[in-house]
């Protein structure tokens, strides 16, 4: 039985160069949630795409809340800009998470929940 862990919050410049950092944090959180390699990869992809959709100005705050077999992810910019998802981005995100939410008010933000596809060992 994995022990629940506290949420981790990461703040970084909204620049493409920092997406790798966001992916590293996401992979770590997904691992703490007990996800298998495929689910960890899905989380990395979704976080990278959605953080990238928040734009390239200001900062992004990414929060990762891992519990057994479940990961809740929220990301927010610091400006009231709607996240921009082009067709390819939307297709990729839909391919790796069941659902997600995007908001522009009061700031551009996203959220999704990923649950382990396979029961935890």
């Amino acid at each position: 039985m994995l022990r629940p862990v506290s949420a981790v919050t990461l703040s970084f410049p909204a620049e493409a160069e920092y997406l790798r950092l966001a992916r590293l944090a996401a992979a770590d959180a997904a691992s703490r949630a007990g996800f298998d390699v495929d689910d960890i990869d899905d989380v990395r992809i979704a976080v990278s795409e959605l953080c990238g959709a928040l734009g390239a100005v200001g900062r992004i705050t990414l929060t990762l809340d891992a519990t057994d077999g479940r990961l809740e992810v929220t990301g927010a910019g610091d400006q009231p800009l709607a996240p921009q998802l082009d067709g390819l981005t939307r297709t990729v995100v839909r391919g790796v998470v069941d659902s997600y939410d995007l908001t522009a008010d009061p700031v551009g933000a996203f959220s999704f929940v990923k649950e382990a596809r396979l029961p935890l060992a």
Binding site: R20, V37, I45, E49, D86, L88, V92, R94
Partner: protein, 102 residues
């Protein structure tokens, strides 16, 4: 580590080894290399993906652009992509437009 690209060209065949991540930060680098190879007359470009650790929609965009530019008679092939890279190729349907080996 961002993205390292090492190209070899023999006649109309080119081979590019990718090491690292292709994302919003590095996709322009991949796009530039592919454009240069196609402009230089490459008709078959093999991308060695064994050490490609991550590919996102920006990278897919670069690959699709190269597929279009090289034309119907040209080949863009990805060699040994990892599972996470293969998944992005599959969910976007790009695996049907490019040659994936194996």
């Amino acid at each position: 580590m961002g993205l390292e690209l090492v190209s070899q060209v023999i006649g109309a065949a080119a081979r590019v080894e990718l090491r690292g991540d292709v994302d919003m930060a590095t996709a322009p680098q991949l796009r530039r290399v592919l454009d240069e190879l196609i402009d230089g007359g490459a008709a078959e470009i093999v991308l060695d993906c064994r050490h490609l650790e991550f590919l996102d929609s920006s990278g897919i965009g670069a690959l699709v652009a190269a597929r279009t530019r090289i034309g119907a008679d040209g080949v863009i092939a990805l060699e040994e992509p990892r599972a996470n890279v293969r998944k992005v190729l599959e969910v976007t349907g790009v695996d049907q437009e490019l040659s994936i080996r194996p």
